[in-house]
């Protein structure tokens, strides 16, 4: 993936609204040139055919209908010919209508596909820091409703362009017949276009407001139903009803507003062509008396107006969709123009056996915040020897997650460098990095896929994917094999949306199996066992440390194995991964070879549990928080016992 050469926006539209609108439509048409050439060409043909229908009808009236009804036998014999001519234009019209719609539909669908592909490619390219700044809902609507909005104008566009041709041809046909008749027929057209324009301009904001309120009513309902237990518990049904009813009544008013705009404009828009027809009748009669036109010309002109009634609306549709399309496109362009994807490295990272050495040198991470930048990490220097287990502790916001996420290069440090076996991560080939460093995050993510695919993250039949034995072994190490075995399809069981059919702790264990199956050289656990039962957590961590000795054996049930593996650090041949974990439970923290205490983005101290307890008051506070609490409670109980005993004595 090449890095974007410059940060100049390539997709955003600029200039006045008219300029931006033309840019938007021009780009869309140029993006799908063949489809739109066909769509617009056919639409022009459709326009011309529509006028032809009225012309043929006029001609048939003059040459067949009127003479035949006046008793002209020859004309009567020609009636079949006239019918055939009319049927001929009817078929042509039908075909052009079908093709016009089909090509417009293809263009619309292809443009949506183009935008969606572009947007999702960006989602996968841009770094985590970008994702953290953009809420999920927004990114999803960028790919769904914004794409629909941005392409909305392309649905009626070919039709509207065909109507331009239709009006031009109609004007020429009428003018060659009679200028006065033409004037009478065409007078209403500008008004009809104008009425449509005003209508759409009034309608768009009214509809948008109603849509916004509809979303907001849904939000309230969603929130309220999610809070159902709370509502029931506090008995606040009345309050919720009131809240919902308030927004519902706003929506009702907005819907009525939309209705009223339509109620007023619909009759006006219907009325205009009819007034045009009456004008044509009046003026036509006058011109007939002076012999300038025939009955058929009047019929043709009047009929043309009824045919034009719907097509002139197309301008309104295009103009009405434009504001929405521009807003939608601007939102998409912001995603497409976002830069900052990490430049991938090119150097291979040799896959030596055993854990990797991790170094951080002068690492600092700044992120933009409200009025300037916030420093998440400052001057972090670390050196972690291969195979060691390091726990990172600190209060919320100390920078623990930021620190460990650097190891998977989810983002790059602002200053300093992160090195793996002496290589700067920025220079390492991404594929090597992801193969050797496995991260299990705070929130586990489960794909809507089978258990197997969720562990291997590979397609079925991928030769590089771990085999089922390896998957089972990883599941066993993560203490989730029993859960999977109990599922009806075993490894083939589909996991629902976000793993809905697993509990939080089971999902976390599955995520750990996903990391372990890769036999990583660095394992990063970012509070990855928060929902796992403490005893199981202990078993997993113990299993990890003894992994290579027990890899081919069943689960180490007895603690003896774990204890035996407790201090293999000195053993040069020890080949487990280097583990870096963020943990909250002291029982897990104390299992680490070394503990790094972070506060305010700096390393306060590092050492063993005992060392830190002895010399780091902040750590002591953290570590003893639970203990102090249970001691205090015990003391309270004693006080109470003494007090009640005292009361007994008094009595």
């Amino acid at each position: 993936m090449p890095a974007r050469p410059s940060s100049r926006p390539q997709h955003a539209l600029d200039g006045s609204v008219t300029r931006r609108s033309l840019q938007l439509m021009g780009r869309g048409i140029r993006a799908e040139p063949r489809t739109y050439t066909a769509a617009i060409g056919i639409s022009a043909l459709f326009g011309a055919t529509t006028v032809a229908v009225s012309q043929v009808l006029g001609a048939v009236t003059d040459r067949v209908v009127v003479p035949a009804l006046e008793g002209d036998g020859v004309a009567r014999d020609h009636v079949w010919l006239g019918g055939l001519a009319l049927a001929g234009v009817a078929v042509t019209l039908g075909v052009t209508v079908a093709l016009r719609r089909i090509f417009a539909g293809i263009g619309y669908a292809d443009l949506q596909k183009r935008h969606r592909t572009g947007v999702t490619r960006q989602y996968l390219r841009l770094p985590m820091s970008w994702h953290r700044r953009h809420p999920t809902g927004q990114l999803l609507s960028n790919a769904s409703s914004d794409v629909e909005a941005a392409t909305g104008v392309f649905n009626p566009l070919p039709f509207a362009l065909g109507v331009v041709v239709m009006i031009a041809v109609a004007a020429v046909a009428l003018l060659t017949t009679d200028a006065w008749l033409a004037l009478a027929a065409l007078t209403v057209l500008p008004f009809a276009v104008l009425a449509n324009l005003v209508f759409q301009r009034r309608m768009s904001p009214a509809i948008m407001r109603a849509q916004g309120l509809r979303a907001s009513v849904a939000d309230i309902a969603h929130e309220s139903f999610e809070a159902a237990v709370l509502v029931k518990s506090l008995g606040t049904e009345d309050r919720e009803e009131e809240r919902f009813a308030g927004r519902t009544s706003e929506l009702r008013e907005a819907n009525v507003r939309v209705g009223i705009v339509r109620a007023i404009f619909d009759p006006v828009i219907d009325l205009l062509p009819n007034i045009g027809t009456l004008l044509v009748l009046g003026v036509g009669t006058l011109r007939m008396r002076s012999g300038a036109v025939e009955t058929g010309d009047v019929v043709s002109a009047a009929y043309l107006l009824t045919l034009l009634a719907v097509p002139v609306r197309a301008f309104g549709w295009v103009l009405g969709e434009l504001p929405r399309s521009l807003v939608g496109f601007d939102r998409i362009a912001r995603v497409l123009d976002s830069g900052g994807a990490l430049t991938p490295g090119t150097r291979p990272l040799p896959a030596a056996g055993g854990g990797a050495r991790i170094e951080m040198r002068g690492v600092g991470v700044d992120v933009p915040s409200g009025d300037g930048t916030a420093q998440l990490l400052r001057d972090v220097d670390l050196d972690i020897r291969p195979g060691r287990t390091v726990a990172v502790v600190g209060v919320t916001g100390a920078g623990k997650t930021t620190l460990v996420s650097l190891l998977s290069r989810l983002s790059d440090p602002t200053t300093g460098a992160v090195l793996l076996d002496g290589l700067d991560l920025r220079e390492v080939r991404p594929a090597d990095l992801t193969r050797q460093v496995a991260l299990v995050g705070q929130t586990t993510f489960v794909f809507e896929d089978t258990v197997r695919s969720n562990v291997t993250l590979a397609d079925d039949g991928d030769p590089d994917a771990p085999d089922d034995d390896a998957v089972w072994q990883a599941l066993r190490l993560a203490r989730v094999d029993d859960v999977v075995r109990a599922l009806p399809g075993g490894l083939d069981s589909p996991l629902g949306e976000r793993g809905a059919n697993l509990s939080g702790g089971q999902r976390q264990r599955l995520a750990i199996a996903r990391a372990l199956v890769r036999r990583p050289r660095v394992l990063v656990l970012d509070d990855a066992t928060s929902a796992v039962d403490p005893r199981i957590e202990q078993a997993i961590l113990t299993g990890l440390r003894s992994r290579d000795r027990t890899a081919d054996r069943p689960r180490p049930h007895d603690r003896g194995v774990a204890e035996g593996a407790r201090d293999p650090r000195a053993d040069a041949r020890y080949s487990g991964p280097t583990v870096v974990m963020v943990a909250y439970r002291m029982s897990s923290v104390t299992m680490a070879d070394e503990i790094v205490h972070l506060d305010g983005g700096r390393v306060v101290d590092r050492g063993t549990h005992a060392e830190l307890l002895a010399r780091d008051p902040g750590y002591r506070h953290l570590a003893t928080a639970y203990e102090r609490e249970s001691t205090r409670r015990a003391a309270d109980r004693e006080d109470l016992a003494v007090a009640s005993a005292g009361a007994e004595v008094d009595r």
């Binding site: 769904s144 237990v229 506090l234 009748l281 290069r409 993510f445 439970r585 639970y626």
Partner: protein
């Protein structure tokens, strides 16, 4: 709560009845189309308000549609082709009269629209609110039978379908029917033979379009399904961004997304092709009709059956058929969707409220220290084996009780019975000696409050979220009074230091579901809320997720103050909580196996003692 009784059956089923049958939320009501409309109107009578006048106006508006064809006929027959050359004066009179008629009809038409929108929107708003309220009135068990999203759609998109139908299809349906009716009458006056010809052409089209439209519907269903799958795949790329990067699987994910995008595109194009064919066949037929009318009309006219003007008027009248016929299938579709939506909403309203307010005979439970007794309680989830059996238990007033037991032992079920989220299948739960089923719901909720594991937070400020615990008259108190109450609650719970750490203090925006707070902080909010609720009995579901130690200490401190002087039942997941309680209840496989103080149970050497021993060896 007075409003509950509105939806509750007047008498509850006999206490202790065995059938806690699963009241699922009705997928849809079983009513037919007409019955659905009738029932719908019954629920929201606003819809038919002033309908008579609206229909009269609609008929007048429809008459306006044939003004132009009549004008054409009259102008041609009595003006243009008048004996002695075109009669201009007559034509001008006709045209002016027609113009006024058009204006009058347009006004009627506008009034019809406005009146219809007003009445239906009023009715639909009522329907929405009633369905919303009914969902809250249903028991937690019933609520649990439907996904939240599906419940939301009952009060949103399902009602929107009806509203959108009225805004477009409904009006079109009314206008079309009347327009075709009026046009047919006029045509029959001119020539019944030609009228038959026109009808004979359009009826087959309608018949052909029906099945075609069904295929169009199927095609759009496919589009919607594929869009759903596509959005699912795209959302994985967003929600799973970290995992995808950490494991370098973006190419695989992109392949999956691309496949769904392409599938969506193909479905869209296919659907559009079908629509194009259906629509253009309408255009084709109505223009063919034109040719047929000209031919047949001319042949009829030769025999003096029809005048030139009448024949020309026919050409314009045929146009009045085209629109409705082309749209008929689409309108019928929308009508079906609207009726289906209506059925789904009515389905909610038809769902029985199982844990209902006792109604007029309800007992108001007096405030004060709460004693709870469970007598011979059994509970089974619908179609399931009993999860609680023979439970007899007394929770003395003011005591703190910890319920311990393995996952699935029945502790959570017991908690739900204590607060009457469900009624026992057998036996009784008594609050100060009164069966919960006889206590007025408002009164019960005032006295008994649950603090769930994951406190739910509304998208708003910290202040509004904590103040949510206020009840009764306090809800409507002035802002400064509310704030003072919230501050004093935080103070009483020892959480003032936490508040001072938040840069925005009480105005901190907690985000959707409170996600800008940590899990521990959300628990603090839940505790503060419970404090404000001033209940006599608290049922706490202890949180299991790990929180950072500083917050942990705060939670523990706040819990101590909160439970002070109240009866408290804690579903304990930590034995340290049990240690600190007055009474420990051990539940195993749906039965209460041990009850006693921590000390007693440890000495007794039973289940609890061994649980405790293994815990101590793990942690100390």
């Amino acid at each position: 709560m007075t409003t509950t009784s509105r939806t509750a059956p007047p008498t509850r089923t006999a206490a202790g009845s065995h059938a806690v049958e699963a009241s699922r939320i009705g997928r849809t009501s079983d009513l037919g189309v007409l019955a659905t409309l009738r029932r719908g109107v019954q629920v929201s009578p606003e819809i038919v308000q002033g309908l008579g006048l609206t229909i009269v106006l609609a008929v007048l508006a429809a008459v306006g549609r044939v003004v132009v064809p009549i004008a054409v006929q009259q102008t041609v027959d009595t003006g243009v082709l008048a004996d002695g050359g075109p009669d201009v004066e007559r034509v001008v009179t006709l045209v002016v009269a027609a113009a006024f008629a058009l204006l009058a009809a347009a006004t009627c038409s506008a009034l019809v629209n406005i009146r219809l929108f007003r009445s239906t929107e009023a009715g639909l708003a009522t329907l929405r609110v009633r369905a919303f309220r009914h969902v809250h009135d249903l028991s937690v068990l019933t609520q649990g039978t439907e996904r939240r999203g599906s419940l939301v759609s009952r009060v949103t998109s399902d009602v929107d379908t009806i509203s959108l139908f009225v805004q477009w299809g409904g009006i079109m349906l009314l206008v079309s029917v009347l327009q075709i009716g009026v046009a047919t009458i006029l045509m029959a006056i001119y020539s019944w033979q030609l009228t038959l010809v026109v009808w004979a052409c359009f009826i087959p089209l309608v018949l052909v379009l029906r099945p075609a439209q069904r295929r169009v519907n199927a095609a759009y269903t496919t589009v919607r399904e594929r869009v759903g799958a596509m959005l699912g795949a795209i959302s994985e790329s967003v929600v799973g961004a970290e995992t995808i990067r950490a494991y370098g699987v973006s190419e695989r994910v992109q392949r999956r997304i691309d496949a769904t995008i392409q599938a969506t595109r193909d479905a869209q194009v296919r659907a559009q092709k079908l629509v194009a064919i259906v629509f253009s066949s309408g255009v084709l037929v109505s223009n063919i009709v034109l040719a047929v009318v000209v031919v047949v009309g001319t042949l009829l006219g030769v025999d003096g059956g029809i005048t030139v003007g009448q024949l020309l008027a026919f050409l314009f009248l045929v146009q009045l058929f085209t629109g409705p016929v082309q749209m008929a299938t689409e309108i019928l579709n929308e009508l079906q969707n609207a009726v289906a939506g209506w059925r789904r909403v009515l389905g909610v309203l038809e769902t029985r409220v199982e844990v209902a307010d006792p109604g007029p005979d309800a007992v108001v439970s007096p405030r004060g220290p709460a004693t709870v007794e469970l007598h011979d309680v059994q509970f089974a989830y619908p179609d399931g084996p009993p999860v609680l059996t023979d439970v007899d238990l007394t929770i003395p007033a003011g005591a703190t009780v910890a319920v311990v037991g393995a996952t699935g032992s029945g502790k959570t079920t017991m908690a739900k019975l204590l607060v009457r989220f469900m009624d026992p299948t057998r036996g009784r739960v008594l609050l100060d000696g009164v069966d919960l089923r006889d206590i007025e719901t408002t009164s019960l909720r005032d006295r008994v409050v649950v603090v769930p594991q994951e406190g739910f937070l509304f998208d708003g400020t910290l202040l509004s979220n904590i103040a949510y615990g206020l009840r009764g008259a306090d809800v409507d108190a002035a802002d400064d009074v509310v704030e003072a109450r919230v501050r004093s609650a935080l103070d009483a719970l020892g959480l003032t230091d936490w508040l001072s750490e938040l840069p925005q203090g009480l105005t901190t925006d907690v985000g959707q579901r409170g996600e800008s707070l940590s899990a521990g902080e959300r628990q603090l909010v839940a505790l503060a809320r419970a404090y404000l609720a001033e209940a006599d009995l608290l049922v706490l579901d202890e949180a299991t997720s790990a929180v950072d130690p500083a917050t942990e200490v705060r939670i523990a401190r706040a819990l101590d103050s909160l439970t002070e002087g109240r009866s408290t039942v804690t579903i304990a997941h930590r034995l340290s909580t049990a240690e600190a309680s007055d009474l420990v209840v051990v539940v195993d496989a749906g039965r209460v196996v041990e009850v006693g103080s921590h000390g007693e149970l440890v000495t007794a050497g039973g289940t609890y003692a061994s649980m405790h021993a293994s815990w101590v060896s793990q942690t100390r």
